[in-house]
Amino acid sequence: MDTQRRTDIGPPDFRRFLPPIIKENYGKWKYHEILKPGVMVHVAESGDKLFTVRAGSPRLLGTKRIRKYAELADKYCGGHLRFTSRHNVEFLLTDEKNIDPIIADLAELGHPVGGIGPAISSIVHTQGWVHCHSAATDASGVVKAVMDDLHEYFDGTTKIPGKLRIALACCLNMCGAVHCSDISILGVHRRPPRVQQGLAKVCEIPNVIAACPTAAIRPASVEGTPSVEIDESLCMFCANCFSVCPALPMADALNDGVSLWVGGKVSNARHEPMFSKLAVPFIENDPPRWTEVVQNVRKIVEVWVDGARPHERMGEFIERIGWPKFFKLTGIEFQKEHIDDYRYAGLTFHRSAWVRH
């Protein structure tokens, strides 16, 4: 063992990076108020006030931009800042007078301020064509196109009834945890994996067979060498086999695209957490602006903004008005793909005589 080499030290202790006002009032905050879009104040038992300015970011950041954030933190926040779970950056101020100047500086850098309270926050998303082999669509490009269209709901220009969270994952691995979002954008494959020659040289056949949740993969001999064959009628395009075996590529320009899901939430407020449910089964990839995705997302957002009661999240709203009305209001066509046919699918059927006419 090299004694010079440090390992297993873990991350630096977060206490090193807390601003003094937080150290002094740690665990002693009394209440908070949203002062304007993207700006809130937390008031401590001691009477101290901490102002937070939250700005949207593309998540994919070059070091040049991070250095700019550091400059802003030095200029206004005694050198302190943090990031949020949704990729936003937050500047922590003690002097109320600095709020407007830092917002102006952020605007000059191209970063909108918002995403707090009843608002659309940044889209949690994944790598896409920028850096992943598994992607059925791009991530950053779709997010950029959707947020260009929805920024009015981020920066508070248009008021909305409650929180709305959007997430994107470019394949069913879902590195972006989209299954519980008000609106989820999910990349999907629609063509079964193609078995490449020499599969047995790169992959363990029993592993590949075991990887398939529907048992669609069987051992086979191809031109005298061991390989596998796919029962295409059993494949639901999860790409799990490809995850364990690179010789089973899934990506396909003609058949890959995007699906939209709605009505999930993770917070416990009012309603228990819920999964997102299928709204639009498939939209073709249409770079660079994914116009049809953007239009569908906007339509869903607008229906909710028009119809939801105060605090009501997408899923609560749809539960109240019913799915038939959701499809009617959004104009999204209901198709057989909307009806679950995987395990225990019957639990999602309408098992009562409650019908709105």
Binding site: D13, F17, L60, L61, V130, M174, R289
Partner: protein
């Protein structure tokens, strides 16, 4: 590898994504491309994906730093001859400080390291929470690691290990934090460094710490062990402040009481009354009137288990395993619970089977027995609806006779 031939841009489709209100990732890559050939080639490769509607990255081979089994994701493009600068373009996951707090100095330090050793591109942050350093060559991995550790940073998890734990902002800036999310997250991360760096599990295991049921890190959807703050005593009420909300136009009857999931609140126009024994701690009323209502003071957390994305057997949300646990250093109770779960799972789990999946495969009841936790009604939404019960034992006639004899025997003094 410019395809411009001197006329026009090499990346017309990406250029389109520099327009519009939202900050552009293309601008970020371009800013770095001025100095880094890697970033220029990444732009051109991505433009090609936009044209062809298909990705150009291959499965990672096994790359890493000495002694670690995770923390680096190998990336190779499938057109290495055309895009040699990014033929290897590996990612490092760097464990962030709990709560994603930084000083400007430490951020600049990370930038210096990454400018020297990699592409200069990052994700702040990945969806698990790590600082993602996006793109470098195999040769640079060990030097990057050395520079990081010299500056007190270390790699996060990847592969079949404990993944980098994450936490909401908690007591640092939220009045609702029911335990110290940042301290617990940091403590779990430090305690389980070996489990984090050397994959030895059937698959990944995630901890996420949210300070209250608003669950700002989505732990119930995204972590194998979801640690969600809650309280056991009464919601603290400031009746004057409630009246102030009412005077300022909040419709307390409709928007507060009407939205309470258990209908345990009453407003008579003067006082707000809460039947705390029926409050499920959903946070709605507190969210809506933060100046008037606060969680109680007997605080701790609900521990839930088993969330995961769809791969392999379908997605799951976490479900209750311990309705209330006090969480104070040194956090032995929760660490002990995690280790009992890992023991059972490591021994019995199939390759790529998450904890949420093994719970279902072996049956929740059997799983509870194996980890030494008693079944309680808080764990279920409702009891089973089907009568297909797997009883493990039954009596045979001889048993009954033996038992009877025993009883008779016992009756004789």
């Amino acid at each position: 590898m410019s395809e411009t031939n001197g006329k026009g841009s090499a990346t017309p489709m990406l250029d389109e994504l520099e327009k519009g209100e939202w900050p552009s990732f293309v601008t970020q890559i371009k800013e770095m491309a001025a100095e880094k050939e890697q970033c220029q080639q990444l732009l051109e490769l991505l433009e090609r994906s936009y044209r062809e509607k298909i990705g150009h990255w291959k499965h990672g081979g096994i790359v890493g730093v000495h002694g670690y089994g995770g923390g680096v994701i190998g990336r190779y493009n499938d057109l290495p001859e055309e895009f040699p600068a990014i033929a290897h373009f590996h990612t490092l996951r760097v464990n962030m400080p709990s709560g994603w707090f930084y000083t400007s100095d430490v951020l600049r330090k990370i930038c210096d390291i990454w400018d020297e050793h990699g592409s200069g591109l990052t994700n702040m942050h990945g969806s698990t929470g790590d600082i993602i350093l996006l793109g470098t060559t195999t040769d640079e991995l060990e030097p990057t690691f050395k520079a990081l550790t010299e500056n007190d940073f270390d790699l996060g998890g990847s592969g079949s290990d404990v993944r980098t734990p994450s936490a909401c902002v908690g007591p640092a800036r939220c009045e609702w934090a029911c335990y110290d999310t940042l301290d617990l997250c940091n403590d779990l991360t430090q305690t389980f460094q070996d489990e984090l760096h050397r994959p030895a599990f059937p698959y990944k295991f995630k901890f996420k710490c949210s300070g209250c049921p608003n669950d700002c890190v989505a732990s119930i959807a995204r972590s194998d062990m979801s640690i969600i703050g809650t309280w056991r005593d009464d919601i603290r009420i400031d009746q004057d402040a409630v009246r102030e909300y009412a005077e300022n136009g909040v419709n307390i009857e409709r928007d507060i009481c009407g939205n309470c999931p258990t209908k345990c609140m009453e407003w008579d126009g003067h006082d707000l009354e809460i039947d705390n024994g029926n409050c499920v701690k959903c946070m709605h009323c507190i969210n809506a009137m933060p100046k008037a209502l606060r969680p109680g003071v007997d605080t701790g957390a609900t521990i839930l288990l088993g969330a995961k994305a769809p791969i392999v057997q379908g997605a799951q949300l976490s479900s209750v395993i311990v309705p209330f646990m006090k969480l104070e250093p040194p956090y032995d109770e929760i660490k002990d619970l995690a280790e009992r779960i890992w023991d059972f799972w490591s021994e019995n789990g199939k390759n790529r089977e998450r904890v949420g999946e093994i719970m279902q495969r072996v049956g929740m009841g059997n799983f509870l027995e194996a980890i030494g936790v008693d079944p309680i009604p808080e764990m279920i939404a409702y009891p089973r609806e089907n009568p297909y019960v797997f009883y493990e034992e039954y009596y045979e006639e001889e048993d009954e006779e033996a038992e009877q004899e025993e009883e008779e025997g016992a009756a004789v003094p």
